[in-house]
Symmetry: D2
Subunit: 349 residues, 4 copies
């Protein structure tokens, strides 16, 4: 028990209870406190996880030398001030997505953590699902070869959100996942967004994101609040194999196809008949068994690992920043009526 | 027998035999001749349909006053000269797609037919499938309401074509269908194309087409030669209902969902809570039974109908021209590295 | 509040908390007490639903004149004595399935309730799902016509149970549903069971139930603990339409096919060519929207309705008895190496 | 060309042209003649395959010493006399299924071929599809382990046949496949059949076949003319892996699941907690790429191989006989109102 890290969860709203429950059941963590301005709300969360200290003043947590880390689950606009305070108090921080309300704020947070040698992690929960973990692994170990294209679809009937368009509502999931599985993270050469608002909602309800990749490949995201059928599918095409992730097929979420188009590159002599060198592979399909594990459990474990091993978390602050940067580029592209907007993509430290 | 129209099929290659067979089995048509420079090839087609006259000189058909119409199934680059000769000889003409090798040529053909009061039809075969006929009918009778968005996906492992990219190879199907089902035809405000050539084939192997529609809606086409899974799906979202066409599900190709997002427009007074006026419909799904009929049979019937009723064919020359115009706009957009290209869309006569 | 019925939940194990929660949130019920020999366990349940009286002696509930009904959620072997005591104390009773540990016991319970004019209800929860409610409605209103055959499949990798075979583990779901949707309830002319124990578990792990129906039709149930793929599907074939319920397809659970085989019955004269009078219908498919509602909520509402309207519950004691009778017939059939066992089916009161 | 075997196809009706075409395009065979009482019909078939001798008297083929083999594609009732004549004339014979109109006749044919050392083959075409070839291979090489159960479903809206019930119409496919993939062939300990005739067609329109296997396992076949949805699926459960063949999913026809229920057999000491020794495997799924090949092409190649290598064909006369024997047992079982009928299964030579 002595060796456990101690964490305070800041914010007892929608996401806070999930964080509290997972910290509580982790072998790496001791849940030190639940912090909320509303004591009753904090107490309810504490009760639901079998008891925990309750605080209404965040400074009581930040000034407590026995607390190693804080988990921020407050509204997005408060992330920047709270995280800056926590970092300055020497705490490691994990933040519910989005990392901040602007990439400028996010960059300050990332810089501050870097300067102080503290872990700043973005809670991109989806990245800790067994399916996405497996996809990252298959990309990393070369099973897919070089990544040629990624096509992600996330469509459904969705409530039109009051404050954000369909890109900001749904695409963060796709973008954080693409960032997680690509070896160099999400670093498109540019970002173009096309949106449609056919019902006059005052914002995009149907959206397409085009992100040319460095190697000539393409990442594409389709998000849609107006589809009568629900689709959550991502295709990751590689030089060796192609992977399809169908999140709505619990019996076969991840399929790896040993199929593809090969371009046999001529080395000895020139040829006019380039097309003659293209061929198919029609090999087996393979669907790996996936572990059953709650993603947030894996997330808090990774947070502990990053702290104790003094390394960046897998979904660190830079990951959160890259996602914000693409979303802001998409908004600029959209504002220019779909014109191509050059993304100012940060480089991972 | 006397009242039947008489047709000559020009070209005995890949598509000619299919045309000949369908003209032969139609009650509207008499198959007057098969024309090909290669007599043996023409004779083989004539035999396969139970006998027909064989000609090697197209002028023998064009000068035959007993022949009402010709069906052109020759390479695309020959369409313009052959169609112009046939129209000038007073023949009605149906042309295998693409209508011509350029929109400029297509426009001349359309104008010539218009001037002479002759039927010029594009053989957009897919439009005559029972599924697409039903979709057109449901749009036309108001079952879907106003069209808000169309999303079409046509992906598979496909042979990299020597002479065309993935847009010109696959998108004509999607574009001709969208043109067919939209009340005013395919008339995007603009066209943007994004392509990827991740294998170094020298042309786009993965392609996305963005086509904002006049009413604020969007048509989007995804074509892909590199997908290990085959998808042929079109979603047509309307104000009243949304339709999904899954061409690979023979048991339920067309589904009509009485589901959607409604925006209740305020008329009496202003409101700050715009989002409060958005609501869902979650009604029944309905899948119409589709007739079983060979599309080409319906196509030749439509050709006869247009001629005898002195009206434009459903897939007339303008339809072929609109499709060519979008494809050319896409190529220009692509050449400008994905920049937005204004389409010069012709107006239907 | 005064008009609410008052209920005590007996048993605070696996199912009791679900019952308690649903009685608590119902407008028809007041949750009067949680009863369990283990006070701590009862208190935990009471806390989880926001507080309720806790009793450790069932007689305290049965002797309380202010309590109208009890819900029994104790092990099956205790159902008979507890229910008999409750009925003799004048309480209405709902019992977790199976109604009893034998049809003989079940019959005594049914007779006792009948004699005293009390409601005895079996908690066949599945019957209160929106899908099954809809199926019952479509059968009852004649949409399907007369029922010709029912084929139910419920297969998956399942834990081999220590005390029951695959029939007693899984088939009660199918049988209670078939009983619920058939107008006259589950009344097969006979029951034949075939089981296989290919892994030497000492009991059937794969099972088939054949139940010829009175009208020449057939009900068939396939249950299987050893299938690598999960299937939960029921086909209900009728003279007018056929319904398919696929419980693992949340986007289209219930489909009604206006397709079938018709036998045109000759009335005026004899014919040798009987087959000539068979024809197809290939009409539309229709998938009704289903309400979203927790089944147990609908179950406790039905329990209240039966009491206040002084009528039998939809899943009354006879329903529980009929299911037990078929299961016992199946066991006898199995014991005779698959020989046909005549079912002794009780008649609904 | 000299080394090719020479074959005559007897019967120019429905199946004869398919046989003729495949013999014609085979490297192993020379198509010597088409035989039919109706010369015009025979000539039409000969033309359709690019020409072949036409005979109207079968004796002209049987007396021709240059003809090695005959392929019989005539009505089932004529198989016995024609095959017996062909065998007595020293010809190898392949027969369209069913092998004969009774198992008694089939047995005579098998015995005659055996006595004369000639190949007698049943054209169980389905066994030569790439999917079934792969299943046989995976069973034979031990990939699935011992076979525990087989569950086959073949249902659809089907025309009620004038002369046969649903068992004789559809089950021969399932039975010939099961016979082909099981190492010892189809040798059930017994056969029980249950049929339903809910529309008064005078014969079973819905049918179930139960076939307990020697090792405690079970084969089950469900055939149905009245299903609005088409299903063609076979599950083959083994001790090591389980295979699912979904013939209507061209993208993944065969899936091999490394999942199952294991019973850890205790060897050292007795145990009361038998259930504790049951466990799951939840491993990967694998879908082998299947060759694309016309089944009849593989069938005529096997026929040639059996003749030249002087061995039994994979689907020999005994296979045809075993299928007939099960069908006759099913009919007897059905006649006894579903009572268990002992199958008289022949032993393979």
């Amino acid at each position: 028990m002595n060796n456990r890290l101690r964490v305070a969860v800041i914010g007892a709203g929608y996401w806070g209870p999930n964080l509290a429950r997972n910290f509580r059941s982790s072998r790496d963590w001791e849940l030190a406190a639940i912090v909320d301005l509303d004591r009753a709300r904090a107490e309810k969360v504490a009760d639901s996880v079998g008891g925990a200290s309750v605080l209404t003043d965040i400074d009581d947590a930040l000034n407590d030398a026995g607390i190693d880390a804080v988990a921020i689950a407050t509204p997005a606009r408060t992330h920047h001030p709270l995280v800056m305070r926590a970092l300055r108090a020497g705490k490691h921080v994990v933040v519910e997505k989005p990392l901040a309300d602007s990439s400028e704020h996010a960059r300050e947070m990332v810089d501050e953590a870097q300067r102080r040698g503290l872990v700043l992690m973005t809670d991109h929960t989806y990245c800790y699902t067994p399916a996405v973990q497996k996809i990252r692994e298959l990309v990393a170990d070369g099973s897919l070869g070089d990544i040629l294209f990624i096509d992600s679809t996330r469509i459904n009937l969705g409530l039109v959100q009051p404050d954000v368009d369909v890109f900001w509502d749904l695409a963060p999931h796709d973008l954080s996942i693409i960032d997680f599985v690509l070896p160099g993270g999400l670093a498109p050469r540019s970002v173009a967004a096309y949106g449609a608002d056919p019902i006059g909602a005052g914002k995009s309800c149907v959206g397409y994101l085009m992100m040319p990749l460095a190697n000539g490949g393409m990442a594409h995201v389709h998000v849609n609040w107006m589809s009568p059928t629900k689709i959550r599918q991502m295709v990751v095409g590689g030089t060796r194999r192609t992977l399809v992730w169908d999140d709505l097929n619990p019996q076969q979420r991840v399929s790896v196809y040993d199929r593809g188009v090969d371009l046999l590159r001529q080395t000895g002599f020139a040829t006019d008949r380039r097309e003659a060198t293209v061929s198919y592979r029609l090999g087996d399909t393979w669907s790996p068994a996936l572990a059953e594990r709650e993603p947030l459990g894996a997330m808090v474990e990774e947070f502990a690992g990053a702290i104790t091993e003094r390394r960046a978390a897998r979904t660190d602050g830079y990951a959160g920043l890259r996602v914000l940067d693409v979303l802001e580029s998409a908004s600029r592209s959209l504002a220019e009526t779909g014109a191509f907007a050059a993304a100012r993509i940060p480089v991972t430290a």
